[in-house]
């Protein structure tokens, strides 16, 4: 029992460090760009608006990584989802609601296929999802090589439905009163995040995901159906990926082959910065959320600075990743010793 408690403590530390890092970075931004509007509530909300899709996808990625797996197909799947939505609504005249339902089913099917290959045929998740990545990107191009703009009224009304907060309004330089707002995509992302958090923490399925990732052998001995749990984890991930793709398309309202390239790496990086171990068994969706927010803050820094190359985002994330990986391995070492 003592060991278990200690393990939880280690994870809590990692999570706290991530949150602290975010708070510090944000505070630094507010000091450095004091007169440039960094302190506005809207800048903070924009982190959620621009990254709603990634927040959901990183949550799915976290689940898969807790089982000890990985999914590098998510970027391509997002592109496929966006393209399918655009193509169905614009070229086939399918309504927005059925189109969204169809893409959610596509996400589920994708999850079932990848999950089956990983769990039942015991193929390396990296290889399975690598194939998935090529397949989804290829299919996107097959559907249309041209960009398709989403013009469906219902869809655009979702995308453009500003939900204003009743407080915190500011008058900008042009003399326009601006109230902080979010879009429905942000609310969907947060609701899903909370649901996944509760699922992982308080349900039997959630806890068995940790058990499988922590030690597959002992999970088996405990009488858990390891294969089925893994399959379910990938299905859930596929579904979350489809939702993430939908939220992404609400932001970009277009289908395009090149969309969301490298998105999988952003999701993995966010999860790792948030304290998820690549070896499995450890992870937390709240951490991943902060991983996404940290990435968003770095990007905001760079646009506010205005002259730095935007590639510095990548370099900073690389440094953060290195830092967190070292931290994780130090924790792991400490855990070994305590045994």
């Amino acid at each position: 029992m003592g060991k278990r408690k200690f393990k939880l403590d280690g994870n809590t530390y990692l999570l706290l460090i991530t949150i602290l890092l975010f708070v510090v970075m944000y505070a630094v931004g507010m000091i450095v760009f004091q007169n440039k509007g960094f302190g506005r509530l809207q800048v903070f909300l924009n982190l959620f608006i621009s990254n709603a899709g990634l927040i959901v996808i990183a949550a799915g990625m976290t689940i898969v990584m807790i089982t000890g797996g990985i999914d590098i197909s998510v970027g391509s799947v997002v592109a496929l989802i966006c393209m399918l939505l655009a193509w169905m609504m614009e070229n086939k005249g399918i309504g927005a609601v059925p189109a969204v339902i169809i893409v959610l089913i596509v996400g589920l099917v994708f999850g079932v296929m990848q999950g089956f290959l990983v769990a039942y045929l015991k193929i390396q998740p990296f290889i399975v999802t690598l194939a998935g990545m090529f397949f989804a990107r290829g299919m996107t191009a097959i559907i249309s090589q041209e960009m398709i703009s989403i013009k469906n009224d219902v869809f655009l009304s979702w995308a453009n439905a500003n939900i204003y907060l009743p407080f915190g309004g500011i008058v900008n330089k042009k003399g326009v009163m601006l109230y902080p707002y979010v879009y429905p995509s942000v609310i969907i992302a947060i609701v899903i995040l909370i649901a996944v958090y509760i699922m992982l923490k308080y349900t039997k399925f959630g806890r068995s995901i940790y058990a499988v990732g922590g030690n597959e052998q002992s999970a088996l001995l405990m009488g858990l159906n390891v294969r089925r749990i893994k399959l379910k984890a990938y299905i859930l991930n596929g579904f979350l990926c489809a939702i993430g793709g939908f939220l992404f398309s609400l932001n970009t309202s277009a289908g395009f082959v090149e969309q969301a390239k490298g998105f999988e790496m952003e999701a993995i990086a966010s999860a790792v910065i948030g304290g998820t171990l690549l070896t499995g068994g450890v992870g937390n969706v709240i951490g991943s959320l902060f991983g996404v927010l940290i990435k968003g803050t770095i990007e905001t820094f760079i646009t506010f600075q205005g002259t730095l190359s935007s590639w510095w985002t990548k370099i900073t994330i690389a440094a953060l990743l290195a830092f967190f990986i070292i931290l994780q391995s130090l924790f792991a070492k400490a855990k070994e010793k305590s045994k």
């Binding site: 460090i17 309202s253 390239k261």
Partner: protein, 356 residues
């Protein structure tokens, strides 16, 4: 218990290191910002004594520019043009963001520009699609948006003030007119002329404009025959491949129209490999578009006959529009940049004066 304590200590130490790292960075950035501000004030007071008591940042027009990336020489020249136009000396502060070819990055950048209270937002869009939401946000904040290079495909065109870019149709007209004049000079205007075209990526605005421009003008010349048009996707390799197949299918090609310079270079290689000659002193006339630096080299080497410019220097034109908007004047929705025609005989002389 001891180890647990050790572990806690370690994490605290790590955090402290991290914090101090961040803190250090802050002070330096802060210092540089301050330095910049003082410099700004200095130049301000030096140039304009009246602005002494006003805020240094308030004097300049703040322009947020979101660029596609740095994928080609043309793009780099485009960026440079913006950077050299919107300088402190000219009364601007430029916030530049490289979108790394990603539309989602551009959307984020525009959102941040809005929060920074920029005066104008300039976007060179990665894609034509998906701009409705974020342009509406800019409009709600009262910030005018100017689009450069590619068009945006939005449901309501009041979402942007103006578009600045190339008139591809005019480039097509220019190419055909130049050819007619050239053939006249060579006393071949009555001859039957066989033309092949290496088209750009189908659907790109440059491809559509250039193809249509040439086609319209073709009607005036009944002795011109378009043997075939095929896409070379704007690349040298594909241009060469398509030209090879053209040379196999047709013996008597008089003119090759390449819808960008890269495809023309490919076509020239294919022609030479087939043992034929091209350029001012060769059998096949090469007409190209863009007029990048390498095209001048090719013309000087005697391989290419003409290149119609696609001017990337959008900065001055955008600045002109901003000045008009500052005065409260209305501007035209579409603003073309000036573009030249550069034939081989003047290439050597013009090349040193070119910015890209």
């Amino acid at each position: 218990m001891k180890r647990k304590f050790l572990c806690t200590l370690l994490s605290v130490a790590m955090t402290a290191v991290m914090l101090s790292g961040c803190g250090g960075k802050t002070t330096t950035t802060d210092a540089t910002t301050k330095q910049e501000t003082t410099q700004e004030t200095n130049t301000d007071t030096a140039t304009d004594t009246k602005s002494e008591d006003t805020n240094a940042a308030g004097d300049t027009i703040v322009v947020g520019f979101s660029q596609v990336g740095a994928e080609s020489d043309w793009r780099t020249a485009n960026t440079e043009s913006m950077k050299t136009t919107f300088t402190e000396e000219n009364g601007y502060t430029l916030l530049f963001d490289d979108a790394q070819q990603k539309q989602e990055n551009q959307i984020k950048a525009v959102r941040n520009f809005i929060q920074q209270d920029v005066d104008y937002i300039v976007i060179a869009p990665v894609t034509e699609t998906g701009w409705d939401t974020v342009l509406k946000e800019a409009k709600d904040a009262g910030i005018p948006v100017i689009i450069v290079d590619r068009m945006v495909d939005v449901s309501d065109d009041s979402l942007y003030e103006a578009w600045v870019g190339s008139n591809f149709l005019q480039e097509g007209y220019d190419a055909a007119d130049w050819l007619a004049e050239y053939l006249d000079k060579q006393q071949r205007s009555a001859e039957d002329i066989n033309i092949v075209t290496l088209q750009g990526t189908i659907g790109a605005s440059a491809q559509i404009g250039r193809t249509d421009g040439v086609e319209e003008k073709m009607k005036e010349h009944t002795n011109w025959t378009m043997l075939e048009r095929q896409t070379g996707e704007f690349t040298q390799a594909k241009g060469q491949e398509v030209m090879e197949s053209f040379l196999k299918s047709y013996d008597d090609i008089d003119v090759v129209i390449a819808e960008n310079d890269n495809m023309a270079f490919g076509a020239i290689d294919a022609i030479k490999a087939a043992g034929k000659t091209c350029g001012p002193n060769g059998d096949i006339i090469i007409l190209s578009f863009d007029a990048v630096a390498a095209a001048f080299d090719s013309m000087i080497a005697g391989d290419m006959n003409v290149s119609i410019e696609c001017n990337p220097l959008h900065g001055p034109r955008v600045a002109e529009l901003i000045q008009k908007l500052e005065k409260g004047e209305t501007v035209d929705k579409i603003a073309y940049v000036e573009e030249g025609i550069f034939p081989a005989d003047t290439a050597a002389e013009i090349k040193p004066t070119r910015a890209y």
